[in-house]
Subunit: 308 residues, 2 copies
């Protein structure tokens, strides 16, 4: 009922990073794509098989280095129901390999509907007495624009099934400030107000490392805000996108961590998935290249923090 | 590249309503559920087949009365990839029957990822030169917390493929005010600021009825705000949830419409899907009961507006 499971794995591997598995078909090496499109043509089935093979090979190479993966739901929805099947299989495969899985879905809705999303992604669904967990991720990213009743169903499942959520607070994209940086009458920005809600929502789920089951998404691309939010939200663990491809550097991340090197997990997606392209190695070595990149990333980030 | 297609159908049927197809399994009559669980047991496959049959029968009975359906993605994700297949089939079936389809997904992300969601839900995906539209809805609900670059990919597809979006502005749930009603330094509320963004985003997609391709979700449960927003956002069409089951009455809706009875479409989900339960009729008549309810709802709402 907190992020203790994830934090323990971070400590064990001495690595506060997560690999985003956002497998655009163009990231998947030709030899994998061809295998399935030769069989099934240009279908969602072929695409889904190719991305699952790609994910699987990367998980095989990184699971002893990296504590978690973050599949981005959009890149699976792109391939319809076949893509969604690949998402469920990817989650399961990573978990069997000891990884913590954060589904990046940024879901949000009113209470009754949020319960359906919660049951789908983190909980279980009852079908004539048969309990099925369609996705069973360990955590889900969510958007808090609808307020507490859109978050409550998630909190219930966090407590019952030892899951977590990350609420969008300050996102990594260039226009995140348009709404999020607006100043409120009370002097706070909107992202600060959203961050304060995270502290409130998580208050009775704080684990042994001081962090609750309610984390926040805070972009690496705004290092000053990251450091300010770390101080402001002492019980809120951060999921930090924007390192690498989006422009956030490793030194700027250190403000997101506490004095023990905890409190944040940094995501990299494209740089890992496409490491073989950047290296210029044989595409059949894509998974080995991904491994080299996650090691480089771990060392790049941990040099600035105090993780023991 | 506006909501003209939808508005024309509203005028044709003299009916500014939309039926939410949120088929929780408990809403589906026993005889349908049993048919598939006898075949496939308590599986996501059985659940998905049952909800598609349920949706199909309701569409058959309402498509000559109601211009649009709004399937809520959460209730399909609940049944994993099988549920997602039922979503795609439901969208297609409604379109073949002349209905406009709004997928209620409240999706949101940074630009590159929003492009994936856009291609999935409204556009098309390229698989080795083969263009596939996995869902191909006519409109999608979205959350604007990330600002313009999370909206731009949607606008492009709205223009290219004559689609629309509804951005969450003032939602219908009890705690919507926690964030949305906060006052900004400049005197506006957050929901007003979000509404103003909708006007800006839609500015170059205004159609012949004066409404752009960028609509707003504004709850029936806050009738004063609905009326204020109608005046404030003259080019923004409203999708209005919260009528009926959530407590919003028909008279309170009239402020959401313009002087021609246009500018809003009112959603009802549970009251239509579960009309047979409320009526207490034989469950085999569920679709006929849904038809009676959509006629009642149309007459209830149009008595207060000036739709010719």
């Amino acid at each position: 009922m907190s992020f203790d499971r994830l934090i323990e794995r971070i400590i064990e591997l001495k690595n506060p990073t997560v690999v985003g598995l956002d497998p655009k078909l163009e990231y998947v090496p030709e030899f994998i794509r061809k295998k399935y499109t030769d069989e099934d043509g240009g279908t969602i089935k072929a695409a889904a098989k190719a991305i699952f093979d790609f994910n699987k090979a990367i998980i095989d190479e990184i699971h002893d280095i990296v504590p978690a993966i973050k599949p981005q739901a959009a890149y699976y929805e792109m391939y319809g129901h076949s893509g969604i099947k690949a998402l469920a299989k990817t989650i399961r495969y990573a978990q069997v390999n000891g990884m913590f899985v954060i589904t990046d879905g940024k879901r949000n809705d009113i209470g009754a509907t949020m319960e359906a999303y919660t049951n789908a992604h983190l909980g279980s669904v009852d079908i004539i007495g048969n309990k099925i967990s369609p996705f069973n991720a360990d955590a889900l990213t969510v958007n808090g624009y609808l307020g507490t009743d859109g978050i409550t169903p998630l909190l219930n499942v966090c407590k019952e099934r030892d899951k977590g959520i990350y609420v969008l607070v300050k996102t990594s994209n260039p226009s995140s400030g348009e709404l999020q940086d607006m100043k409120l009458e009370d002097g706070r920005t909107i992202y600060e107000a959203m961050g304060d809600m995270c502290e409130k929502w998580g208050a009775d789920t704080i684990g042994k490392y001081g962090y609750s089951a309610v984390g926040a998404v805070v972009g690496a691309t705004y290092p000053e805000m990251l450091a300010e939010l770390r101080k402001r939200l002492p019980h809120t663990m951060f999921l930090v996108p924007g390192y690498g491809a989006q422009g956030g550097g490793a030194e700027g991340l250190k403000g997101g961590f506490d004095e023990n090197g905890l409190g944040a997990i940094v995501n990299s997606s494209r740089a890992v998935m496409c490491a073989y392209k950047k290296e210029g190695c044989n595409e059949r070595e894509f998974a080995k290249a991904a491994r080299r990149e996650v090691i480089r990333m771990r060392d790049d980030i941990t040099q600035y923090i105090n993780l023991k």
